[in-house]
Protein backbone atom coordinates (compact mmCIF):
# COMPACT_ATOMS: atom_id res chain seq x y z
CA UNK A 1 0.00 0.00 0.00
CA UNK A 2 1.38 3.37 -0.89
CA UNK A 3 0.21 6.89 -0.25
CA UNK A 4 2.52 8.43 -2.85
CA UNK A 5 3.33 6.79 -6.17
CA UNK A 6 5.17 8.46 -8.98
CA UNK A 7 6.78 7.88 -12.32
CA UNK A 8 8.06 11.18 -13.57
CA UNK A 9 9.79 12.62 -16.62
CA UNK A 10 10.16 16.38 -16.48
CA UNK A 11 13.02 18.51 -17.82
CA UNK A 12 16.13 17.02 -16.29
CA UNK A 13 14.23 14.42 -14.28
CA UNK A 14 14.36 11.08 -16.10
CA UNK A 15 12.13 8.18 -15.25
CA UNK A 16 12.08 8.67 -11.50
CA UNK A 17 9.71 6.08 -10.03
CA UNK A 18 9.00 5.29 -6.42
CA UNK A 19 6.26 4.55 -3.94
CA UNK A 20 6.06 5.71 -0.34
CA UNK A 21 4.09 3.95 2.39
CA UNK A 22 1.71 5.97 4.59
CA UNK A 23 3.30 7.34 7.75
CA UNK A 24 6.79 7.18 6.29
CA UNK A 25 9.37 9.94 6.56
CA UNK A 26 11.39 10.31 3.38
CA UNK A 27 14.52 12.37 2.85
CA UNK A 28 15.06 13.50 -0.73
CA UNK A 29 18.78 14.02 -1.10
CA UNK A 30 20.86 15.29 -4.00
CA UNK A 31 23.25 18.00 -5.10
CA UNK A 32 22.08 21.40 -6.32
CA UNK A 33 20.43 21.02 -9.70
CA UNK A 34 19.84 17.30 -9.25
CA UNK A 35 16.10 17.71 -9.79
CA UNK A 36 14.81 17.66 -6.21
CA UNK A 37 12.69 20.81 -6.52
CA UNK A 38 11.40 19.83 -9.95
CA UNK A 39 10.34 16.45 -8.59
CA UNK A 40 8.58 18.00 -5.60
CA UNK A 41 6.84 20.53 -7.84
CA UNK A 42 5.54 17.74 -10.06
CA UNK A 43 4.42 15.70 -7.06
CA UNK A 44 2.63 18.73 -5.63
CA UNK A 45 0.83 19.22 -8.93
CA UNK A 46 2.42 22.62 -9.59
CA UNK A 47 4.10 21.35 -12.74
CA UNK A 48 2.65 18.78 -15.12
CA UNK A 49 5.00 15.87 -15.88
CA UNK A 50 6.10 15.51 -19.52
CA UNK A 51 5.21 11.88 -19.22
CA UNK A 52 4.45 9.44 -16.46
CA UNK A 53 2.03 9.98 -13.63
CA UNK A 54 1.82 10.77 -9.96
CA UNK A 55 -0.78 9.78 -7.46
CA UNK A 56 -1.15 10.95 -3.92
CA UNK A 57 -3.87 9.72 -1.62
CA UNK A 58 -5.39 12.49 0.45
CA UNK A 59 -4.66 16.14 1.07
CA UNK A 60 -1.26 17.52 0.17
CA UNK A 61 0.56 20.50 1.60
CA UNK A 62 3.71 21.72 -0.08
CA UNK A 63 6.16 24.34 1.15
CA UNK A 64 8.52 25.41 -1.65
CA UNK A 65 12.06 26.47 -0.85
CA UNK A 66 11.48 30.20 -1.33
CA UNK A 67 8.45 30.14 1.01
CA UNK A 68 6.14 32.46 -0.95
CA UNK A 69 3.91 34.72 1.17
CA UNK A 70 2.33 38.14 0.86
CA UNK A 71 4.91 40.49 2.34
CA UNK A 72 2.53 43.01 3.82
CA UNK A 73 0.31 40.45 5.54
CA UNK A 74 1.01 40.16 9.20
CA UNK A 75 1.27 36.73 10.81
CA UNK A 76 -2.34 36.74 12.01
CA UNK A 77 -3.47 37.61 8.45
CA UNK A 78 -1.66 34.55 7.15
CA UNK A 79 -3.67 32.31 9.46
CA UNK A 80 -6.87 34.08 8.40
CA UNK A 81 -5.83 33.49 4.79
CA UNK A 82 -5.23 29.83 5.55
CA UNK A 83 -8.68 29.50 7.09
CA UNK A 84 -10.38 31.04 4.05
CA UNK A 85 -8.38 29.23 1.40
CA UNK A 86 -8.68 25.73 2.81
CA UNK A 87 -11.80 23.59 3.02
CA UNK A 88 -10.27 21.81 5.96
CA UNK A 89 -8.54 24.09 8.41
CA UNK A 90 -7.24 23.39 11.89
CA UNK A 91 -6.56 26.80 13.37
CA UNK A 92 -5.48 25.41 16.71
CA UNK A 93 -2.79 23.30 15.13
CA UNK A 94 -1.40 26.23 13.13
CA UNK A 95 -1.65 28.49 16.15
CA UNK A 96 0.13 26.04 18.43
CA UNK A 97 3.02 25.76 16.02
CA UNK A 98 3.48 29.55 16.02
CA UNK A 99 3.24 29.67 19.81
CA UNK A 100 5.79 26.87 20.18
CA UNK A 101 8.32 28.88 18.20
CA UNK A 102 7.29 32.24 19.68
CA UNK A 103 6.47 33.93 16.39
CA UNK A 104 5.02 37.44 16.98
CA UNK A 105 1.50 37.69 15.44
CA UNK A 106 1.43 41.37 14.71
CA UNK A 107 4.59 41.73 12.64
CA UNK A 108 4.30 41.91 8.86
CA UNK A 109 5.91 39.01 7.01
CA UNK A 110 8.60 41.27 5.51
CA UNK A 111 9.89 42.13 8.98
CA UNK A 112 10.28 38.50 10.07
CA UNK A 113 13.60 36.68 10.11
CA UNK A 114 14.14 33.79 7.72
CA UNK A 115 13.63 31.37 10.57
CA UNK A 116 10.35 32.98 11.61
CA UNK A 117 9.10 32.90 8.02
CA UNK A 118 9.89 29.18 8.00
CA UNK A 119 7.70 28.73 11.07
CA UNK A 120 4.81 30.69 9.50
CA UNK A 121 4.85 28.58 6.33
CA UNK A 122 5.04 25.37 8.37
CA UNK A 123 2.13 26.52 10.53
CA UNK A 124 0.12 27.28 7.39
CA UNK A 125 0.95 23.88 5.91
CA UNK A 126 0.09 21.98 9.11
CA UNK A 127 -3.13 23.93 9.59
CA UNK A 128 -4.46 22.47 6.35
CA UNK A 129 -4.28 19.01 8.01
CA UNK A 130 -2.33 17.39 5.19
CA UNK A 131 -2.10 13.64 4.74
CA UNK A 132 1.12 14.22 2.84
CA UNK A 133 3.43 17.09 3.75
CA UNK A 134 6.15 18.00 1.27
CA UNK A 135 8.90 20.39 2.28
CA UNK A 136 11.66 21.69 0.02
CA UNK A 137 14.75 22.42 2.12
CA UNK A 138 12.62 23.25 5.17
CA UNK A 139 15.55 23.74 7.52
CA UNK A 140 17.81 25.86 5.34
CA UNK A 141 17.14 29.14 7.15
CA UNK A 142 17.28 27.77 10.68
CA UNK A 143 20.16 27.65 13.14
CA UNK A 144 21.41 24.23 14.28
CA UNK A 145 19.37 24.25 17.49
CA UNK A 146 16.16 25.27 15.73
CA UNK A 147 16.78 22.64 13.02
CA UNK A 148 16.68 19.92 15.65
CA UNK A 149 13.64 21.33 17.35
CA UNK A 150 11.68 21.72 14.10
CA UNK A 151 12.52 18.17 13.03
CA UNK A 152 11.52 16.84 16.44
CA UNK A 153 8.19 18.67 16.30
CA UNK A 154 7.55 17.58 12.71
CA UNK A 155 8.20 13.95 13.65
CA UNK A 156 5.81 14.32 16.56
CA UNK A 157 3.16 15.66 14.14
CA UNK A 158 3.83 12.67 11.87
CA UNK A 159 3.45 10.24 14.73
CA UNK A 160 0.36 11.94 16.22
CA UNK A 161 -1.52 12.41 12.98
CA UNK A 162 -0.34 9.56 10.77
CA UNK A 163 0.97 12.08 8.26
CA UNK A 164 3.44 11.13 5.52
CA UNK A 165 6.44 13.46 5.27
CA UNK A 166 8.82 14.11 2.38
CA UNK A 167 11.56 16.68 2.74
CA UNK A 168 14.57 17.57 0.65
CA UNK A 169 17.92 18.36 2.21
CA UNK A 170 21.64 18.64 1.55
CA UNK A 171 22.61 17.81 5.09
CA UNK A 172 22.83 14.05 5.09
CA UNK A 173 24.33 13.98 8.58
CA UNK A 174 20.97 15.16 9.95
CA UNK A 175 18.73 12.46 8.57
CA UNK A 176 19.97 9.47 10.60
CA UNK A 177 17.11 8.29 12.81
CA UNK A 178 14.90 11.00 11.27
CA UNK A 179 14.12 9.62 7.82
CA UNK A 180 13.18 5.99 7.42
CA UNK A 181 13.42 6.25 3.66
CA UNK A 182 16.04 7.76 1.43
CA UNK A 183 15.63 8.92 -2.15
CA UNK A 184 18.97 9.94 -3.68
CA UNK A 185 18.87 11.95 -6.90
CA UNK A 186 21.77 12.81 -9.17
CA UNK A 187 21.51 14.41 -12.59
CA UNK A 188 17.75 13.86 -12.57
CA UNK A 189 18.07 10.11 -11.98
CA UNK A 190 17.23 8.09 -8.92
CA UNK A 191 20.43 6.51 -7.56
CA UNK A 192 18.99 5.06 -4.39
CA UNK A 193 15.50 4.37 -3.13
CA UNK A 194 15.28 2.40 0.06
CA UNK A 195 14.84 1.93 3.75
CA UNK A 196 17.57 3.93 5.50
CA UNK A 197 18.36 1.17 8.00
CA UNK A 198 18.50 -1.52 5.32
CA UNK A 199 20.84 0.60 3.21
CA UNK A 200 23.15 1.05 6.19
CA UNK A 201 23.12 -2.67 6.96
CA UNK A 202 23.90 -3.59 3.34
CA UNK A 203 26.86 -1.31 2.72
CA UNK A 204 30.18 -2.43 4.16
CA UNK A 205 33.58 -0.81 3.66
CA UNK A 206 36.52 -3.21 3.31
CA UNK A 207 40.10 -2.03 3.71
CA UNK A 208 43.11 -4.19 2.91
CA UNK A 209 46.26 -4.62 0.84
CA UNK A 210 46.13 -3.24 -2.69
CA UNK A 211 44.08 -5.59 -4.81
CA UNK A 212 42.30 -5.18 -8.12
CA UNK A 213 39.50 -7.45 -6.97
CA UNK A 214 36.95 -7.01 -4.23
CA UNK A 215 37.54 -9.35 -1.28
CA UNK A 216 33.83 -10.26 -1.05
CA UNK A 217 30.87 -11.04 -3.25
CA UNK A 218 28.27 -8.41 -3.90
CA UNK A 219 27.87 -5.26 -5.98
CA UNK A 220 30.84 -2.93 -5.59
CA UNK A 221 29.69 0.66 -5.12
CA UNK A 222 33.12 2.24 -5.12
CA UNK A 223 36.72 1.04 -5.18
CA UNK A 224 39.68 3.21 -4.27
CA UNK A 225 43.31 2.23 -4.58
CA UNK A 226 46.25 3.84 -2.84
CA UNK A 227 49.91 2.86 -3.16
CA UNK A 228 49.64 -0.04 -0.74
CA UNK A 229 45.96 -0.19 0.26
CA UNK A 230 42.65 -0.75 -1.43
CA UNK A 231 39.18 0.14 -0.20
CA UNK A 232 35.99 -1.41 -1.45
CA UNK A 233 32.50 -0.25 -0.55
CA UNK A 234 30.35 -3.30 -1.26
CA UNK A 235 26.67 -4.06 -0.80
CA UNK A 236 27.60 -7.32 0.85
CA UNK A 237 25.29 -7.21 3.83
CA UNK A 238 27.75 -8.54 6.40
CA UNK A 239 31.08 -7.71 8.01
CA UNK A 240 32.61 -11.21 8.08
CA UNK A 241 36.02 -11.02 6.42
CA UNK A 242 39.31 -12.91 6.60
CA UNK A 243 42.54 -11.16 7.57
CA UNK A 244 44.31 -9.04 6.50
CA UNK A 245 41.13 -7.26 5.37
CA UNK A 246 39.07 -5.28 7.83
CA UNK A 247 35.41 -4.41 7.48
CA UNK A 248 33.18 -1.73 8.94
CA UNK A 249 29.76 -0.23 8.39
CA UNK A 250 29.68 3.27 6.92
CA UNK A 251 27.75 6.35 7.94
CA UNK A 252 24.83 7.56 5.86
CA UNK A 253 26.98 10.44 4.69
CA UNK A 254 29.78 8.14 3.47
CA UNK A 255 27.19 6.01 1.73
CA UNK A 256 25.59 8.93 -0.08
CA UNK A 257 28.93 10.47 -1.05
CA UNK A 258 30.13 7.12 -2.46
CA UNK A 259 27.03 6.77 -4.64
CA UNK A 260 27.35 10.36 -5.84
CA UNK A 261 31.06 9.88 -6.65
CA UNK A 262 30.27 6.75 -8.56
CA UNK A 263 27.60 8.54 -10.59
CA UNK A 264 29.78 11.58 -11.30
Amino acid sequence: MSVVAAEVWKWAVHDVSFELPPGSVTALVGANGSGKSTLLNVLAGHLPPESGHTSIAGRVAYVPQHKPMYKNFNVADVLQFGRRMNNVWDNERADEWLARFKVPRKLPIEDLSGGQRTHVTLALALGSRPDVLMLDEPLSELDPLARRKVMRELLTEVSDNGMTLIFSTHVVAEIGGVADRLLLLAGGRLLLDGDTDELLEEHVLYTGPRDSESPVEGPVVLAKHGKTQSQYLVRSGGTQIAEPWTARYVTLEELVVAHLERAA
Binding site: R148, R152, G176
Partner: protein, 126 residues
Protein backbone atom coordinates in the same frame (compact mmCIF):
# COMPACT_ATOMS: atom_id res chain seq x y z
CA UNK B 1 14.48 5.61 32.69
CA UNK B 2 16.42 5.62 29.45
CA UNK B 3 17.19 8.78 27.53
CA UNK B 4 17.59 7.82 23.91
CA UNK B 5 19.92 9.53 21.53
CA UNK B 6 21.04 8.77 18.00
CA UNK B 7 24.66 9.22 17.09
CA UNK B 8 24.31 10.40 13.51
CA UNK B 9 28.01 9.98 12.87
CA UNK B 10 27.73 6.27 13.52
CA UNK B 11 27.22 3.71 10.78
CA UNK B 12 24.94 1.69 13.05
CA UNK B 13 21.29 1.96 11.98
CA UNK B 14 19.32 4.16 14.38
CA UNK B 15 16.98 1.38 15.54
CA UNK B 16 19.96 -0.77 16.55
CA UNK B 17 21.44 2.17 18.46
CA UNK B 18 18.21 2.49 20.46
CA UNK B 19 18.22 -1.25 21.14
CA UNK B 20 21.80 -1.06 22.31
CA UNK B 21 20.93 1.76 24.70
CA UNK B 22 18.15 -0.31 26.27
CA UNK B 23 20.47 -3.32 26.62
CA UNK B 24 23.11 -1.14 28.23
CA UNK B 25 20.57 0.34 30.67
CA UNK B 26 19.50 -3.21 31.57
CA UNK B 27 23.07 -4.38 32.12
CA UNK B 28 23.86 -1.42 34.32
CA UNK B 29 20.65 -1.82 36.28
CA UNK B 30 19.11 1.51 35.25
CA UNK B 31 16.20 -0.47 33.86
CA UNK B 32 14.75 -3.33 35.92
CA UNK B 33 12.35 -6.10 34.98
CA UNK B 34 8.84 -4.66 35.19
CA UNK B 35 9.91 -1.13 34.23
CA UNK B 36 8.02 0.52 31.41
CA UNK B 37 9.94 1.82 28.40
CA UNK B 38 9.03 5.36 27.33
CA UNK B 39 6.11 5.50 24.91
CA UNK B 40 6.94 5.86 21.24
CA UNK B 41 5.49 9.35 21.24
CA UNK B 42 7.67 10.38 24.19
CA UNK B 43 10.80 9.15 22.46
CA UNK B 44 9.83 11.00 19.27
CA UNK B 45 9.08 14.22 21.14
CA UNK B 46 12.20 14.19 23.31
CA UNK B 47 14.83 12.63 21.06
CA UNK B 48 13.71 13.63 17.57
CA UNK B 49 13.78 10.04 16.37
CA UNK B 50 11.27 8.81 13.82
CA UNK B 51 8.35 6.84 15.34
CA UNK B 52 8.91 3.96 12.90
CA UNK B 53 12.51 3.70 14.12
CA UNK B 54 11.40 3.50 17.76
CA UNK B 55 8.77 0.87 16.90
CA UNK B 56 11.36 -1.15 15.03
CA UNK B 57 13.75 -0.97 18.00
CA UNK B 58 11.03 -2.11 20.42
CA UNK B 59 10.05 -4.97 18.10
CA UNK B 60 13.66 -6.10 17.89
CA UNK B 61 13.94 -6.07 21.72
CA UNK B 62 10.68 -8.00 21.94
CA UNK B 63 11.95 -10.66 19.52
CA UNK B 64 15.10 -10.92 21.62
CA UNK B 65 12.86 -11.66 24.61
CA UNK B 66 13.96 -8.62 26.58
CA UNK B 67 10.69 -6.67 26.62
CA UNK B 68 7.02 -7.38 26.12
CA UNK B 69 4.31 -5.20 24.66
CA UNK B 70 1.14 -5.23 26.74
CA UNK B 71 -1.95 -4.27 24.83
CA UNK B 72 -2.86 -0.69 25.56
CA UNK B 73 -0.45 -0.15 28.43
CA UNK B 74 2.98 -0.01 26.88
CA UNK B 75 6.22 -1.91 26.54
CA UNK B 76 7.71 -3.46 29.67
CA UNK B 77 11.08 -4.92 30.57
CA UNK B 78 10.95 -8.70 30.91
CA UNK B 79 14.49 -9.83 31.54
CA UNK B 80 18.07 -8.66 31.63
CA UNK B 81 20.38 -9.57 28.78
CA UNK B 82 23.04 -12.09 29.67
CA UNK B 83 22.91 -14.23 32.79
CA UNK B 84 24.79 -11.95 35.18
CA UNK B 85 22.86 -9.95 37.77
CA UNK B 86 23.77 -6.25 37.96
CA UNK B 87 25.24 -6.73 41.48
CA UNK B 88 27.73 -9.28 40.09
CA UNK B 89 29.15 -6.47 38.00
CA UNK B 90 30.62 -4.58 40.95
CA UNK B 91 33.50 -6.93 41.91
CA UNK B 92 34.33 -7.43 38.21
CA UNK B 93 34.34 -3.68 37.67
CA UNK B 94 36.75 -3.30 40.62
CA UNK B 95 39.13 -5.95 39.23
CA UNK B 96 39.01 -4.31 35.83
CA UNK B 97 39.77 -0.90 37.33
CA UNK B 98 42.92 -2.34 38.95
CA UNK B 99 43.89 -3.90 35.63
CA UNK B 100 43.35 -0.62 33.75
CA UNK B 101 45.56 1.22 36.26
CA UNK B 102 48.28 -1.39 35.69
CA UNK B 103 47.91 -1.15 31.92
CA UNK B 104 48.20 2.64 32.03
CA UNK B 105 51.31 2.57 34.21
CA UNK B 106 52.77 0.14 31.68
CA UNK B 107 52.30 2.92 29.13
CA UNK B 108 49.18 1.65 27.31
CA UNK B 109 46.90 4.24 25.76
CA UNK B 110 43.10 3.82 25.72
CA UNK B 111 43.30 2.73 22.08
CA UNK B 112 45.76 -0.06 23.05
CA UNK B 113 43.44 -1.17 25.82
CA UNK B 114 40.43 -1.35 23.49
CA UNK B 115 42.49 -3.29 20.96
CA UNK B 116 43.62 -5.78 23.62
CA UNK B 117 40.11 -6.22 24.93
CA UNK B 118 38.72 -6.81 21.46
CA UNK B 119 41.47 -9.34 20.78
CA UNK B 120 40.80 -11.26 23.99
CA UNK B 121 37.03 -11.16 23.50
CA UNK B 122 37.28 -12.54 19.98
CA UNK B 123 39.56 -15.31 21.25
CA UNK B 124 42.46 -14.31 19.00
CA UNK B 125 46.23 -14.21 19.77
CA UNK B 126 46.49 -16.15 23.05
Amino acid sequence: MVEFHVDRGSGLPAYLQLGQQVREALRLGWLQPGDRLPTVRDVVATSGVNANTVLKAYRELELAGLVEARQGSGTFVKASPGSAAPEDFDPLRATLAVWVTEARSAGLEDEDIYALLREVLSGGAQ
